[in-house]
């Protein structure tokens, strides 16, 4: 199944020299043949944003463990950062990430680098140097650049290097100490809330700045119906913006939040059922381009604490597809092809990355999915160093069983080979 070419048939995939050589029926069988009968072969997934812990938080994740988790989840490429503490704002750090990926990684690793020095939101980074070192996009982590003038200059300057600028939209003053969506459930739990407007104000501002500058803006983890409406209107008038959403914001709402279990603390927070429905609708009509995991590993010490003291985020590389298949595809909200496109072809297009397609001549990055086997998920058996997810014990189906990167099998029969 390759949404980039509109293909959904039973075909052979011929791989040679690390590339897709041909797609067709009854292709030449010289060399090794792998029988994928009954499974779905799709372009390898590309994750737009995963925290792989390096440098600085190796106790939670490393590029070695994180890329194995990615491979096990069907991802053949990940755009990586290392959490808000590690600001990749000079070329040396970009090189460090690439070097670690070359030594320890098992899938393609694309470094994200900072928009502003120190992530402080006032001075621009040396974007050209960052790009030369290998950065694929700019991202300041989960903090919005407070000063509109600084973001405006960043967008203008990034155009020079054709680097997409990825933004987290949250007004810090409105969000305040909030730890979950502001509304009925936050009131009942007595937890400080983050109103939807905290996101939407910044989405509106950033869309206007993208329009003003003509730069390539990518809005990370859209979470509210209001944001979807703003983005839809901006796209309709031709603003060059792309967006993503996490699987978690599609399948869960603030009603699911358990205040004594910090696994439910996410940033942005889980919103209402109406928001989740709007996100699905946005994915269907193209307002939201991609699905990104926002893989955020946290140690036990960071999560086995009071809700408002916990580090936000959950891991997601290994469960993204099964969660989407079990909840979103099974409910008929999106087809499997629509999900695959938003995990592969669309992310490649959004950040201008190679892959996301099985078109002959492209890198042989592919993932093989078993749609039928149901399995109880146990994060302790996973490849990530961290276990912070509320999905422990969930029955899921739609597990990737084999992953190929550049013509080489990285995962076979659900096991990471390297």
């Amino acid at each position: 199944m390759d949404p980039s070419q509109g293909i959904d048939e039973v075909l052979d995939v011929l791989v040679a020299d690390g590339h897709v050589a041909a797609l067709g029926k009854d292709l030449d069988e010289a060399g090794e043949t792998v029988d994928c009968t009954g499974h779905v072969v799709a372009p390898g997934f590309i994750d737009l944003r995963a925290d792989l812990g390096e440098p600085g938080r190796e106790q939670a994740e490393t590029i070695g463990s994180g890329t194995r988790a990615a491979a096990a989840g069907g991802f053949t490429a990940v755009c990586v950062w290392a959490g808000p503490e590690a600001v990749i704002d000079d070329a040396g750090w970009v090189s460090f990430v690439r070097e670690r990926a070359r030594r320890e990684g098992v899938v393609r690793v694309y470094p994200l680098a900072a928009i502003t020095k120190g992530g402080r939101g006032d001075e621009l980074t040396e974007m050209g140097e960052l790009k030369d070192a290998g950065a694929v996009a700019l991202w300041d982590g989960p903090r919005a650049i407070a000063r509109a003038g600084v973001l405006r200059r960043a967008l203008e300057y990034a155009r020079l290097w054709e680097l997409p600028v990825v933004v987290h939209c949250e007004d810090a003053d409105l969000a305040g100490p909030g730890v979950m969506h502001e509304g009925f459930h936050a009131t009942v739990h007595g937890l400080p809330g983050v109103p939807a407007a905290a996101e939407e104000i910044v989405v509106a501002r950033d869309l206007l700045l993208a329009e003003l500058t003509g730069a390539r803006l990518h809005i990370a983890h859209v979470s509210t119906a209001g944001s979807v409406a703003l983005i839809r209107a901006a796209k309709a008038r031709g603003v060059a913006v792309t967006t993503d959403v996490t699987p978690h914001h599609l399948v869960w709402t603030d009603a699911d939040v358990e205040p004594d279990d910090a696994h439910w603390r996410l940033r942005p927070p889980l919103r209402t059922a109406a928001d989740a429905a709007a996100l699905i609708e946005g994915l269907r009509d193209g307002t939201i381009d991609c699905i990104a995991t926002d893989h955020s590993p946290c140690t036990l010490e960071e999560k086995q604490v009071e809700f408002d003291r916990a580090r936000p985020g959950i891991i997601g590389l290994e469960t993204a597809l099964p969660l989407l298949v079990t909840r979103v595809v099974a409910a008929g909200q999106l087809s499997l092809g629509e999900v695959i496109a938003r995990l592969s072809h669309h992310p490649a297009r959004a950040l201008g990355l190679p892959g996301g397609t099985l078109a002959p001549g492209s890198p042989a990055d592919l993932t093989v999915i078993d749609l039928n086997t149901e399995r109880v998920y146990d994060p302790a058996q996973g490849w990530s160093r961290s276990r912070n997810t509320p999905l422990a014990g969930w029955r899921l189906q739609g597990w990737p069983v084999a992953t190929m990167v550049g013509g080489r099998w990285v995962v076979r029969e659900g096991r990471v080979m390297a």
């Binding site: 509304g183 009131t187 007595g190 937890l191 400080p192 205040p259 004594d260 604490v305 009071e306 408002d308």
Partner: protein, 312 residues
């Protein structure tokens, strides 16, 4: 009838029968107040820990007396907020308490959900003595007890809760308890101090105390935190008092048979004036006494079957 609960975390979990049972038990507990020897053997040999992460004199003393009058060995642990930030985690502390043989842990904590987290971590009975903006169940139970004592019933009464509803665990626990027992609830305060979604609980919201006061059977005045005026939630205490304080003039709006409650400690002259506390309709001092009785009842019911039988 045995109480099925191991912990008391939130009023939201309690049925009307659960609440009535606490209140009925508290009536018996209150009897011993008049005795020369205020001691029941119920919790002899049981270790009760008061684990307080926020300063509190009233609630801590009330629990301590309740425990002592029931013959528990009471240990008070006060943890300054600063040491939580740098030091031991709650789950770590919980395991330490378990290792020390705590049978009952009474916890007050600035984070909502902390008592529930503690209850998941240890085997001891956990009583929530106030967690963040979430709940303060024993305060609600003593308020209900006080109302029932004065009025004979709670169902059908109209209760106003006035003040900083947004930050108030007392308000949330009272709302659940009053709702479960069938009272009608109106909350009154400035829009900046009213959280969203209360209508979904069947609670009416008003910003006009003068209009509400003549209609209610009970007015529960919440403490206003002096810090709020520096966080753009209210411009000044003076303006707050003018619009939402229970002032001398407003006492005339209250019905002769209405009750005035305040969980204490009061900022006299801000949310309530001295005359209102001294008014014959006020039950502020009864609340303090009833607090001990209600906490004894909760201890008795939570330890039901484990402690010695309640002596009449």
């Amino acid at each position: 009838m045995a109480w099925a609960r191991r912990h008391l975390i939130r009023m939201r979990d309690l049925s009307a029968a659960d609440i009535q049972q606490v209140l009925d038990t508290a009536v018996a507990c209150k009897d011993i107040f008049g005795r020369d020897v205020k001691k029941l053997p119920t919790l002899r040999g049981q270790v009760m820990v008061n684990l307080f992460y926020e300063p509190s004199t009233r609630t801590r003393t009330s629990f301590e007396l309740a425990g002592k009058w029931m013959s528990a060995d009471v240990v008070n642990i006060s943890v300054p907020a600063s040491s939580v930030v740098k030091g031991e985690s709650l789950t770590d502390t919980a395991r330490t308490l378990a290792a020390l043989g705590a049978d009952i842990v009474v916890i007050r904590h600035p984070s909502a959900g902390a008592p529930a987290l503690l209850a998941r971590t240890i085997g001891a009975a956990v009583i929530n003595a106030g967690d963040g903006m979430h709940e303060h169940p024993t305060q609600a139970l003593l308020d209900l007890f006080t109302i029932r004592e004065a009025k004979g019933h709670v169902a059908g009464l109209h209760v106003a809760i006035v003040g900083d509803i947004l930050h108030s665990r007392v308000a949330r626990s009272n709302i659940w308890g009053l709702r479960t027992l069938g009272a009608r609830i109106t909350v009154v305060g400035p829009p900046t101090l009213i959280p969203p979604g209360l209508e979904q609980l069947g609670v009416a919201v008003s910003h006009d105390l003068d209009q509400v006061l003549p209609e209610v059977d009970v007015v529960n005045i919440l403490r206003i935190q002096r810090e709020r005026q520096h966080t753009a939630l209210i411009p000044s205490l003076r303006e707050y008092t003018r619009r939402f304080g229970l002032t001398r003039e407003r006492l005339d709006l209250l019905r002769p048979d209405a009750l005035i409650l305040h969980p204490g400690p009061a900022n006299l002259g801000v949310e309530i004036v001295q005359e209102a506390v001294d008014d014959p309709r006020a039950r502020v001092h009864d609340q303090v006494t009833n607090g001990v009785a209600v906490r004894m009842a909760v201890l008795f019911l939570l330890m039901g079957g484990r402690g010695n039988a309640m002596a009449a």
